[in-house]
């Protein structure tokens, strides 16, 4: 109510109004750049893409600059939800990604516990374990693409060692004959998704590990000491003394892992391009394929996929925001 009393003040109004409202305006000024860019690149496109999902559009403007989009109402959604096998394959793969990617959290914890000791050269081992997170997802995808290759990859070579013998072919070149066919993991509709997830786990485990390592630094030695005096050790120590103190790290690890699972796009694009025949698609890649890729150009339908993906993620984002809000309220 300080404002209402100062309005009666006879001092020069322009300067004073600034003085009065400085506290209210200043934060907005600082947030403004972020807000503007966030609106242009995130908020407005969300609504544009929802709007586009009611049209059928090949992405072209005619000679006069008029969009060639045609209003189809909810037709895209009808096709998507009731008539599109590919959509459900992608959705199922999204769920598989989310569930299996969660393995990164316990695995990261295990490696962190293992590495959390003072031995000569431990920093070196830590950085080696952290290494996969530093290299780009694209490179990880390429490496695993070769790893799985049934002809010359690690999988193929091991298989050849176990089940194949070398012979000389008709042209006098060395070739191999196998008693059973080597597994073509990325070329098999049942295995491709698992193959990519396994590759994706490599950097993700490293990420979770580093989060836990930082968390472990902050574990209070007094509490461990106290626990030890009370006779806790091994599993009990971990379960009741260490883990509760690592709760913030666990929360963060789960959040980044969920995000990582939803960002599976790069790995899929590099390793299988959603194939064979769409069986390793996830919604994000399916949307890309439908709207933007070479045989796509169905922007309306792609937007409908994007909208559905957005709604699914909204559930998760809302939970995350609610949780942050609650934590902040508890702390204050």
């Amino acid at each position: 109510m300080a404002n209402s009393t100062t309005t009666a003040d006879p001092a020069p109004p322009g300067n004073l109004r600034w003085q009065k409202n400085r506290l209210a305006i200043a934060p907005w000024l600082f947030v403004a750049p972020a807000l503007i860019f966030f609106s242009i690149y995130v908020i407005i496109p969300i609504f544009q893409s929802i709007a586009l999902s009611f049209y059928e559009w090949n992405g072209l403007y005619d000679g006069e600059g008029q969009s060639t989009a045609k209003w189809v109402g909810l037709d895209n959604y009808r096709k998507l939800l009731f008539d599109d096998e590919r959509f459900y394959i992608s959705l199922k793969n999204n769920v598989i990604w989310l569930v299996l990617y969660m393995l990164a959290v316990p695995l990261g914890l295990a490696i962190a516990l293992f590495l959390n000791q003072t031995v000569t050269g431990i920093r070196f081992y830590k950085s080696m374990f952290f290494f996969p997170f530093v290299i780009s997802q694209v490179v990880v995808g390429l490496i695993y693409g070769w790893f799985y290759n049934p002809d010359y990859g690690v999988v193929g070579s091991l298989w050849k060692w176990a089940f194949c013998e070398e012979t000389i072919n008709i042209m006098g070149n060395v070739t191999t004959k196998c008693s059973t066919k080597p597994p073509d993991i990325l070329g098999d509709e049942d295995w491709a998704t698992y193959g990519i997830i396994f590759a994706g786990l490599w950097p993700q485990v490293a990420y979770c590990m580093i989060l836990y390592l930082t968390g472990l630094n902050n574990v209070s030695p007094e509490q461990i000491e106290a626990g030890r005096l009370d006779g806790a050790k091994g599993w009990k120590m971990l379960r009741h003394i260490i883990l509760p103190q690592l709760a913030p790290a666990t929360f963060l690890a789960i959040v980044v892992t969920v995000i990582g699972a939803l960002r599976s796009f790069d790995m899929i694009a590099i390793m299988t391009r959603g194939g064979p025949f769409g069986s390793s698609n996830v919604l994000a890649y399916y949307m890309y394929e439908t709207a933007i890729s070479e045989y796509g150009d169905r922007y309306g339908y792609g937007s409908a996929i994007a909208t559905v993906l957005f709604l699914i993620m909204l559930v998760y984002i809302s939970y995350f925001l609610w949780r942050m809000y609650r934590d902040e309220k508890d702390n204050s």
Binding site: I44, Q48, A51, L52, N58, G59, L60, Y61, D62, G63, E64, G65, S67, T68, K79, D83, E85, Y148, N149, P150, D151, T167, N169, I170, M171, G172, N173, T175, K177, K181, P182, D184, L186, G187, D188, E189, R273, G275, P276, F277, G278, E289, I292, E294, Y295, G296, D297, R298
Partner: protein, 411 residues
């Protein structure tokens, strides 16, 4: 509002790429192949054009082929060049329908192209008008290891019976008959197209890609049954789903596979893999239905004038220029492909000679499954072909699914 926002971004990007201030007498050309030979051929032709038209100031933008496919959708409406390279058939259809390409029938009329470029005229035509001028094409067929064939005393098969006999002989000798890499899907479409062209002919190919015939039609089923026999008899290499077409050259070069259904651009790949020209040869895909007129695949590349071009007059001059016999002769000698102008000379290369022989005597020229069929159909179709090659027992389910897509695409 979406449109304006989008257009501004598009315009901003496009102005960065292209010179936007175009005066009269300026000619901006967007070309889409930065590889050494195509680039050199294009630049040589541009130099010749400049020499012949000293008053025209030509600006050239050469983009990566894949990037061009995305960029063209923006620059055609935002900041159009005067000429752009693109593909005929169904690939040009969306742009023609949106009114983004200029009708260039007059260039065809004035220069006698209806006769000189007759081979590719049908695919350059929509609504009885021609929308661009083609400058090159190449043949498809079966490339094979001549040394393996010689060693096993096999002759080039001309009909399906002979082809099967050759394949069996190869298998007995421990050689997989055909190599293929279907990771990028389109290679399987090449096999399908040829089986269809040889089983049912050119009309059925066109009717199928135009959506007039169902995939569950008996004629198409027959194609798949032949294909099924091939897959079930292990005619194709294993693990093809993880191989690109380049990867699939490895077993071919090693002598583990003897034939490859491919386009002429692949010859370079065989030579790079260490094979010599004497070790490889070409034969036309063998006859399946006796007496059926022989049609071939011959994808062409072409130049178009965007309807938003600023200097359409000089652009027409350029289109007329690049279809001249001497220009096409030199251009295609450089990129080792076939000129379309029937008065041009074919390069001195055994594959080009066989290709010319193959195409000039063909009863019809198809572009390719993914250029003749609309994009959405092509994508679904090619995924279906790959799935089929991995598990032939799914044939009926795949064909029914393709019928569903077809219904949706051509409604």
């Amino acid at each position: 509002m979406i449109k304006t926002a989008l257009k501004t971004t598009v315009a901003m990007v496009a102005t960065g790429l292209l010179s936007s201030a175009v005066l009269a007498g300026d000619l901006v050309i967007n070309f889409d192949d930065p590889n050494p030979a195509p680039k050199e051929a294009f630049e040589t032709a541009v130099e010749a054009f400049k020499a012949a038209n000293p008053d025209i100031n030509v600006t050239v933008n050469i983009n990566d082929r894949e990037a061009h496919k995305t960029a063209i959708r923006n620059f055609l409406s935002a900041d159009a060049p005067d000429i752009t390279s693109w593909y005929p058939g169904n690939r040009m259809a969306p742009f023609v329908e949106a009114g983004l390409f200029e009708d260039v029938s007059d260039v065809w009329d004035d220069n006698g192209f209806h006769d000189a470029l007759a081979a590719i005229k049908p695919t350059m035509t929509i609504d009885d008008k021609q929308w661009g001028v083609p400058y090159t094409y190449y043949q498809w067929g079966v490339y094979y290891r001549k040394d393996i064939f010689d060693k096993l005393e096999l002759a080039e098969p001309t009909n399906w019976e002979e082809f099967n006999a050759v394949a069996e002989k190869l298998k007995e000798a421990g050689v997989t008959p055909i190599t293929i890499g279907t990771k990028f899907l389109w290679t399987a479409a090449g096999v399908f197209d040829y089986l269809n062209l040889r089983t049912n002919g050119y009309e059925v190919h066109n009717d199928l890609t135009a959506g007039k015939i169902k995939y569950t039609d008996d004629r198409i089923k027959k194609v798949f049954e032949t294909w099924k026999e091939m897959v079930d008899a292990d005619y194709f290499v294993e693990n093809h789903a993880t191989m690109s077409w380049q990867d699939a050259i490895a077993p071919f070069a090693n002598g583990d596979a003897a034939m490859y259904v491919m386009g002429n651009f692949s010859v370079d790949g065989y030579l790079n893999a260490g094979l010599t020209e004497d070790q490889i040869d070409f034969f036309q895909f063998p006859e399946i239905t006796p007496g059926l007129p022989r049609a071939e695949e011959a994808p062409a590349d072409a130049f178009f004038i965007p309807s938003g071009a600023k200097n359409k007059e000089d652009a027409r001059k350029f289109l007329a220029f690049i279809a001249q016999p001497d220009v096409q002769t030199e251009w295609n000698n450089t990129i080792i492909q076939l000129p379309i102008n029937k008065n041009a000379e074919v390069g001195d290369n055994k594959f080009l000679k066989e290709g010319f022989e193959t195409l000039s005597t063909a009863s019809g020229l198809a572009q390719f499954y993914d250029r003749d069929a609309p994009a959405q159909m092509a994508k679904a179709g090619m995924e279906g072909f790959q799935e089929f090659m991995l598990d032939t027992s799914k044939m009926d389910a795949i064909l029914e699914r393709l019928d569903g897509v077809q219904e949706e695409v051509y409604k």
